[in-house]
Symmetry: none
Subunit: 259 residues, 2 copies
Amino acid sequence: MSMSEKEKGKEKALKLIEESIKFILVETTHPGNIGAAARAMKNMGIKQLGLVSPKEFPNEKAFYRAKAATDVLENAEVYKTLKDAISDSHFVVGTSARNRKVPWPIVTPKEAAEKILSLSQQPESKIAVIFGREDRGLTNAELGLCNLHVHIPSSEEYTSLNLSQAIQILAYEIRLKALSVEGMLEEQEWDVPLAENAEVERLIEHFEELMQEIEFYKVDNPRQLLTRVRRFFRRSKLDHLEANIFRGVFASIQKKLKK
Amino acid sequence: MSMSEKEKGKEKALKLIEESIKFILVETTHPGNIGAAARAMKNMGIKQLGLVSPKEFPNEKAFYRAKAATDVLENAEVYKTLKDAISDSHFVVGTSARNRKVPWPIVTPKEAAEKILSLSQQPESKIAVIFGREDRGLTNAELGLCNLHVHIPSSEEYTSLNLSQAIQILAYEIRLKALSVEGMLEEQEWDVPLAENAEVERLIEHFEELMQEIEFYKVDNPRQLLTRVRRFFRRSKLDHLEANIFRGVFASIQKKLKK
């Protein structure tokens, strides 16, 4: 069977989203929502599900609501903390209600899908999309672990979507982007894999440590300083080598300072 | 309060979708799905709900799942037949699983949303979007009453979306079209102006200077190291404050090292 180049590109993109994307649900209260999420994901060809401290799981309500997506539930991985869940992720997208004091780069679901698809083409990339609790979403600390924040444009009269509906919209946009693949092949492959999440986290911690050692504080608002540094490193999509260079530099500085 | 033309256009479009669009659910079996549908609609600013021979309605499960969209349920109109429900509609869109023997013009949710928005601008237009039964959608006869068929692109492995999820996607696309401003959220103002080119250049030079002072060189290829650092800072779109923080940290380190 011969396929057009476009068909091949599409098939490849659909395979990539299945292999590289994991949806992670943090402290979900209702098991029915986990089942509905699994179905919404599989309908769009996304199958990797991570659960951080779900209130009740496994649970028959989840399996009932998943309908023909029980395989997604059976293969779901359960973690104690969000940090565990994303430790091997190269890129982390967090869903946000969008009224933070320090603004982060915040994008539409469509823009997030474009970014995710483009990153999924990096060899062996692992991309996590994080969804918060039914009643209050993700905490600021959890959003601080993300590289990108996405916001679903909802009505001012009623902004809060059901969890599985938010998942449906993100999954739908990712699938649409995979089906459209236009311009996909134009993306130049990066020479070095992206830094894994744990590497970026260590780098940020290392920089904070260094700032403490040199007693560098903005007098007026030290916490904001740390938030800004974190936000910078999180959004800048470091690759593995860049992370190594910075850590090497920081370590050398610390060594010199100790002499 | 004065608004830009763009803001006025957006507000008008949102008002039009509220006034002109009705979502109609045909013979829904599970009242929970009706409640979830009401919430999904209101989240996107669509409030007119029609129900054709629902199996159980009103029902407390529907009200439970609707959460803060109970007003949509309270105002829902119940009809005996689909023909009754659409008798005053000017344009009818039907959702379809897309494997009909006689092909109809079939569009994506995005294309349907464009059509719907453009029609909503006609004075007093009434547009109906029809959703079928949970297990088998709309009949051929019902689809025959529609002007346009829309299909949600789903995975071949699992094509059938939950009813309220299909409703969420259509409502989302209609809202996006009303907001109509691709990349809208990008316009969110950053709190700090971006660093000017000369600032970034000084920052890079400062970092290079620091690396020399601590004698940090990769033995194999020092030039590549500098190139990588430069590429990193150049592509990361630093803002003015971030550039200042880094330069402040570098200067403090240099001062400490000199002691």
